[in-house]
């Protein structure tokens, strides 16, 4: 492309020269430039004197030769420029220039000569190479350190808070249905009615007759609940933010992310191909320094204005910590960034009206440009959504890959979410959310001292303690005592088993993919829910954890026991 442009420039320049020349041959410029004027001046000034001098010197042969020369080259001679001009000789010059231009235009750049070129591989050599080529196996063996026991299977389901696992009825602290809204009879009835009316699948993407009236209803309700202009729903939780980020950032743009962001955000950043900068986890000071650095860099290199976005999670799924959103908001206003907050684990629980971590941080709707969340959290359904300005949502309807190129959400999951959202909006729902927040804070406070060998991630008190996801990491000293990763995993598994079998508490052991660029520490994850908020349950769970941890991780005996189990 650039070569073509260069050629076009050259062509234009040479063309201009040619035009100038032909014009000059007619106008007053001609006299200044043409050969005839030069010749005339030569004759007027010098010719007589030269001949006289030659005569005086009696150099006849030379004089004769000069006279002959002058007959040809002097005025009227066949090779005098005037003759040339009179007989349209400039056409030859212009033609020559045009020929050069054409040659330049059609030549195809620099091509090395045959000698310099390597000889191409022969067919036989290629056959040979293809035969010799040994691909790696399709998938590598699972590394020994990544091998984990089979995940638990739920055998019976009473409601989202009480399940039977491994033959034991237990309090389910793995499901993110914090408020238990999906247990409500009105939700189940709505879903049932929809299946009877619409079937299960939507059978098409939103653009192609896959939009149902219930999708539009859900979008409207979500926007109203969040106090935003518009909402857009996706059919899967991890596809939501991974589609939203590439819609608003491309190659030249800037993404600033917390280094602890979960995999969907990482994938979104990768898909966008934007310039990604990370700041230290939950460190607003580092963010400020980073934004300052980026601004200085942009100013120095005089880069054009690009789209800039900060991406954080309201509650980090890898740690359960709450982002300092107030501070991040101030910084993003100062440095003119847009802010995208992933609210999966805070939506429905945090904030006075259950709008999530942004509300809890005192931010008004509209102040944060993009809020994404999953519907498999507080809404007890499946899918994800994004709320924001009309412009933000409209743009995604054509550019959100997971929105355009995927079948839409099954309608019955949409009506379940609508019904759940309706409960969440009532005073009852908000009271429920308040109770869950209280239970989460109580649980964090009870675990603040830490069961032996375990450390609570995130704040134990203050507003951030309302985060409904509690991660208990292994104490580094215990971890080093236990040794390699499988031993650590086995020890945690034993804690979980004891919790389940002896105390009827079902907790999650998060697993991380090798693709995840963040390597979170192994932990036990508890999700606070409405059932936990009942009298005495928090204390029961906390004491169970203390006892189980003391048994497995506590003394050196327990440690070796845990290691031995591996």
């Amino acid at each position: 492309m650039r070569r073509l442009t260069r050629k076009a420039c050259l062509l234009a320049a040479l063309g201009l020269c040619a035009v100038a020349w032909s014009k000059a041959a007619e106008g007053p410029l001609r006299r200044a430039l043409s050969f005839s004027s030069l010749a005339t001046s030569l004759r007027d000034v010098d010719a007589g004197k030269i001949i006289q001098a030659l005569q005086e010197m009696r150099l006849r042969p030379i004089r004769q030769a000069w006279a002959e020369f002058w007959d040809i080259f002097g005025p009227g001679g066949r090779l005098h420029p005037d003759w040339f001009i009179e007989h349209q000789g400039h056409l030859f010059i212009e033609g020559g220039l045009m020929a050069i231009i054409l040659v330049l235009f059609f030549q195809s750049g620099y091509r090395p000569s045959k000698e310099q070129e390597e000889e191409p591989l022969t067919e036989r050599e290629i056959d040979e190479l293809c035969r010799e080529w040994k691909p790696e196996p399709l998938v590598p063996d699972i590394a020994e350190e990544d091998q984990l026991p089979e995940p638990p299977v739920i055998q019976e389901w009473e409601n989202s808070h009480w399940v039977t696992v491994a033959g034991r009825r237990a309090l389910n602290l793995t499901a993110a249905d914090f408020l238990g809204l999906s247990n409500d009879p009105s939700v189940a009835a709505a879903a049932r009615a929809t299946v009877e009316r619409y079937g299960v699948g939507s059978c098409g993407p939103r653009g192609f007759y896959g939009t149902f009236d219930v999708h539009l209803q859900l979008e409207q309700d979500l926007a109203a609940f969040m106090g935003e202009e518009e909402a857009i729903i996706y059919s899967y939780d991890i596809a939501t933010v991974a589609s939203v980020i590439p819609a608003f950032a491309s190659r030249a743009d800037i993404l600033v992310m917390d280094e602890g962001c979960s995999y969907p955000i990482q994938q979104g950043a990768k898909l966008s191909r934007a310039r990604v900068f990370t700041f230290k986890h939950n460190d607003a000071g580092d963010l400020a320094a980073l934004l300052g650095r980026i601004e200085a860099e942009e100013a120095r290199e005089r880069k054009p204005l690009c789209r800039r976005m900060i991406v954080v999670e309201g509650v980090y799924s890898n740690t359960g910590e709450v982002a300092p959103l107030r501070r991040i908001y101030e910084l993003k206003e100062r440095y003119k960034y847009r802010l995208c907050v992933e609210e999966t684990l805070s939506f429905g629980v945090m904030g006075e009206r259950g709008r999530g971590a942004c509300e809890a941080a005192g931010l008004e709707p509209g102040q944060v440009e993009i809020i994404c969340a999953s519907m498999s959290g507080a809404l007890g359904s499946v899918g994800g959504f994004c709320v924001g300005h009309s412009e933000v949502c409209d743009h995604q309807r054509l550019c959100g890959q997971g929105y355009c190129f995927s079948a839409s959400l099954p309608p019955y999951l949409a009506t379940a979410a609508i019904a759940a959202l309706r409960i969440l909006g009532t005073p009852d729902g908000q009271a429920l959310a308040r109770r869950v927040r209280g239970a989460a804070a109580e649980l964090r406070a009870a675990l603040a001292a830490g069961p032996p060998g375990l450390v609570l991630a995130g704040a134990a008190d203050g507003p951030a303690a309302a985060s409904p996801v509690v991660h208990l990491h292994l104490d580094p000293s215990v971890e080093s005592r236990l040794g390699p990763r499988p031993a650590v995993a086995a020890a945690l598994q034993r804690v979980a088993d004891i919790l389940l079998q002896r105390y009827g508490v079902f907790v999650a052991l998060p697993r991380y993919s090798v693709l995840d660029e963040v390597h979170p520490r192994q932990s036990i994850k508890l999700v606070a829910n409405a059932a936990l908020a009942s009298e005495g349950r928090v204390e029961h769970v906390a004491s169970a954890l203390r006892e189980a941890a003391a048994e497995v991780l506590g003394g050196s005996d327990g440690g070796s026991d845990g290691g031995g189990a591996a």
Binding site: P151, G199, S202, A508
Partner: protein, 565 residues
Amino acid sequence: MGVAAAEGAPPPPPHPRAAWYINVLCTWTLSLLAFTGRIRDLFWTRPKTRKGFAEISDPHQDFYNRRLYGRIHDCWNRPIASAPGAWIDVMEREDIAGSYKSTRKLAFTGRRQRCLNLGSYNYLGFAAADEYCTPRVLSTMEAWGISTCSSRAEGGTTPLHAELEGLVAEFLGTEDAITYGMGFATNSASIPALCGPGTLVLSDALNHTSIVAGVKASGASVKVFRHNNVRHLESLLRFHIAEGQPRTHRPWKKVRLRAWGCMRAARGAAGAGLCEQAGVDPRDVDVLMGTFTKSFGSAGGYVAGSKRLVAYLRRHSPAHLYAASIAPGAAQQIISALKLIRGDDGSGRGAAKVAQLHDNANYFRRKLLEMGLHVLGDWDSPVMPIMVYHIGLLASLSRRLLSRRVAMVVVGFPATPLLLCRCRVCISAAHSREDLDYALDALRDLVAASGIDFANRSGGGLRGLLARLTGRAPPRGWRAPAGGAAALAAELSAPCGGCGEGACGGLGSRRASSDGSSCSGSAVVSGGSSSIADSSSCGASADISRPGSAADSWAALAPSAAKSV
């Protein structure tokens, strides 16, 4: 080589191309729209973005959306208010044809139109309530709730999920399978687990966005081969294996072929998908991916393959570890649909559905070809993209069809190139013959009015242009209006056992022929390198390679590399 051809299977239909004047007209229309759009932009400014912020959307894209797409955006996103069965209730919106409304929200009139559904991917007719599936789904929802609200690895695995994966593996004839809650995520989240830097991915030019997204996220190098062109694929494969990685010339770690197969279950007699029809043993394809949206009336996707592959995905695929598991109701829908197809209910309804689908699809395709339309795809395929080429025709076609109470999908830029607009028909087993005739009647009238019967006006040229502009049949010396297309259709359906109704009988003979070449076919797919046959569907790529040609051209790849697994 040539087994299929020797036994007289129909030759692959020539890939239709637009006549030059169509392209000229379309380019002219687009330029005019762009020009007037720019003029309009001089007088109408968008609300200003906040000071110091860049525009939230790309200005060029935004211009296209407002000034071109905005004029015809009523052809998409039409909401419906019924099950996506054979007939749907389309919610009527205000009419913007002829006026200019930008992408502003369209108001609803409150009326509903009962339309024949040619848009939904409802191959086997499981979209609406089904006497076998729906009660099972409802009782499952009763027993297991709406959603597990937890990932498969944490607390979202139920016996339903295990049953589903077992059934899928059994159905596909693979060792094991893993399922995900969304078709798009199946590709975009499992491909990164299978490829990484140092992997060369050879991808069909028309592969779905989800595959592109997955490959992009994986960091692998991508080379694109021409759509369904196995010869091009082979040459690329040989060249790149010989050359190795760029710059370092180290050998590639793995090479993946990504062919985008077509729809699950709808093809093949027992409905086991593309592999069965192409006569390739599923075990020789390393990775099978697909979606449950289209045939089973549910949501989600699967990856099937060897035990080792699936175990690796269970350990490392992000969608398994981080995303909520398939909702129990949706899982039960797939399970019951699979069982029904397998014939567990004892009524043979499942097999009848598959046969009905093939019958419907071939009937409709034959009629379309007879009309002289440029139809892509193969016999038996329920998806039929009809080339329209001209974006203006696209919009008018969609609106007029809707007014004739036929809901059909139209596809334009950016899903297809600007000059390759098309509409798409999805045939379902739920359609009755009367339904299909109803649609064909409506189409026939519109085809006559809009002149998209390009096969009748073949050749392009000035006469073609004249014929198109005057709307008259081409002058003498040209093929007779319907003769060309009808001849082609007859030629294509001739080997189908001679049965008048088309390819139902022919299916058997064709399968036999492709079975004949299956040994060479299967040698390839595992030998060539790891190939991923993605069975799902996409209108743009519905014209998958024919069984015979696929098998024999696959065979050419056999010597190219060592066995990979």
